[in-house]
Symmetry: C2
Subunit: 376 residues, 2 copies
Amino acid sequence: MSDDDRLARVALSRLTEPGDPKIASLVAQLGAVKLREVLSDPTQESPEARDVSSRLRGVDPAAELETGERAGLRYVVPGDDEWPTQLDDLMRVELLDQRGGPPLGLWVKGPTRLDQLGRSVAVVGARSATTYGTEVAAGIAGALVRAGHPVVSGAAFGIDQAAHRGALSVDGANVAILACGADRAYPTAHHDLLDHLGRTSAVIAEVPPGCAPTRGRFLSRNRLIAALTRGTVVVEAAVRSGALNTASWATRLNRYLMGVPGPVTSAQSQGVHQLIRSGAASLVCYGDEVLEIVGESGTHLVTPPRAPSRPRDKVPPRDARVLDAVPLASPAPVDSIATTAGMALLDVQAALRRLVRDGLVELSERGWRLTPAANE
Amino acid sequence: MSDDDRLARVALSRLTEPGDPKIASLVAQLGAVKLREVLSDPTQESPEARDVSSRLRGVDPAAELETGERAGLRYVVPGDDEWPTQLDDLMRVELLDQRGGPPLGLWVKGPTRLDQLGRSVAVVGARSATTYGTEVAAGIAGALVRAGHPVVSGAAFGIDQAAHRGALSVDGANVAILACGADRAYPTAHHDLLDHLGRTSAVIAEVPPGCAPTRGRFLSRNRLIAALTRGTVVVEAAVRSGALNTASWATRLNRYLMGVPGPVTSAQSQGVHQLIRSGAASLVCYGDEVLEIVGESGTHLVTPPRAPSRPRDKVPPRDARVLDAVPLASPAPVDSIATTAGMALLDVQAALRRLVRDGLVELSERGWRLTPAANE
């Protein structure tokens, strides 16, 4: 892209809030350079337009880029090699809460290139998470990075933090998308975490450096988490959790949406259960099950969890028929077992002898009965 | 039905194991009376057939009916007023583990008529249940009976017992289907429970009085639980739980299949999660959600659980736009908030004053910030 385009986008992003669909639409129609030019015109009629124009002329985008660079930030715009083209899906998607559209550009801190996030997966959820939720989130995030899927989250307390932490334990991309400037730490308690991610992977923001987080910016940020990734895993979410807003974006963008169940008695799982129950989200329990959904076909089909095999499993079919006919509680004589099994007496007696050898039945004074091993 | 038919069915049920598809198929083709006649013929070639014939001629079905009656048992057969016609679905369904077909008849103890079970719902699950599972099962069973849906279960330890117990606390049908004779108590620890159900509702068995439970009979019993009910709720089930066998029957019979999620770290929920994940079962959390699925349309649509409303919810849209623009962490001056909100300074100032009155923002030395109430 031309330097002019980049400068125009920096300037426009100072003027507008992230996720403003009017600006996205005007940029799509006129281009950023032309839009900046039109809006900067000081000879306009309405006071609002003149105010916009004066504010826009007050921005020095070249200086902003330089300041950003000194803070280790680069500004990635559509057309750059590094631009994550999956964000262009935001051009074609309906608004949510009057927000939408692709970002003008993204401020990025860290070595991870944005065009390497095509296989990334978002792991998000409640800030007031339970230890159950944070354990599961960390486990899933670790499994994703281990399998070469970058993890994306929002660096908030609770599930987000657990996801970043879980991904930290493995080499791989571990990306935070913030609602404030990429040079800031919100929440401040996550300063060290964000510093680490900014040195080893990537911290991303749509709003310019220095900007504070607002509720509106969180909502706009959520659309980027959903759009940048191949799928979103919601680990815990109460019925009004912000994570459900990210989930709505994932659905809207036709990304995979997955939810981790929990106790029905836990308020933190209610929102997730609603997502699964309504069919919006697939139920996932482990990292492997997430990989089965987001991974390439043929690479991650999960072997369903199996219980350890039981002594009974190894019994051949005809002996199993006899075993099935031995009473569970009170002992029975061989002829009654033969009747139940519908087999000849001699065959049943031979089978019982083999089953004794396997430790599955025993002969008591009152007849044959199952051993505890057979009841496993 | 003719007395002959009933007598023939009693006799045949002494000869064969429950769920034997060969017998069901022969009864469907020849009728029970004719089949008994054919099998009783003492002049047959093969030793097996002669053995069957002699055993069949040794049964005195009239005496069995009388003995049953003295024990408070009646034998309900197809064609009886009380016959639950939903069991006829078993005629048209594929075998599972080489079992299938409708029962020859059902031994019933208790005042509940079987033709009143058309709205019944099965609540089943692991014997080695957790307290979480038993609490949820009891709650769901209670809600079902309260809404006029009889509860059916298997009287086993764990979830079954919890379901019967939960249904006990409400007036309504509470039905146990056993793998042993309806006159027996298995497990023996549930003697009092079964005695109570047999006096107040119904205890049902396919096998004749006196018969012991075997593994095979449990598998055959499971098909009756699924077939008799409109839907099956699996509350907890490890990956090899017998409850999954009942679930397979419910699917096969095109009944509603529902599963209660739990912690992914709980082995007792693994089987249920697989059912939900595969799409076989719908996720349900509460009795109301079960009723939404099994109840008549228009009677039980669930209002999704909602969090208590927050102070922020009552703010009108334009003020909410200002509220969304107030930083979450560090305070901001009014002009910066106006820029973020994209609104005129005077309007923003007026909105901020209203938000102060609502206790949502406050003016500190360094500017406006959200109050804790706004962050709820």
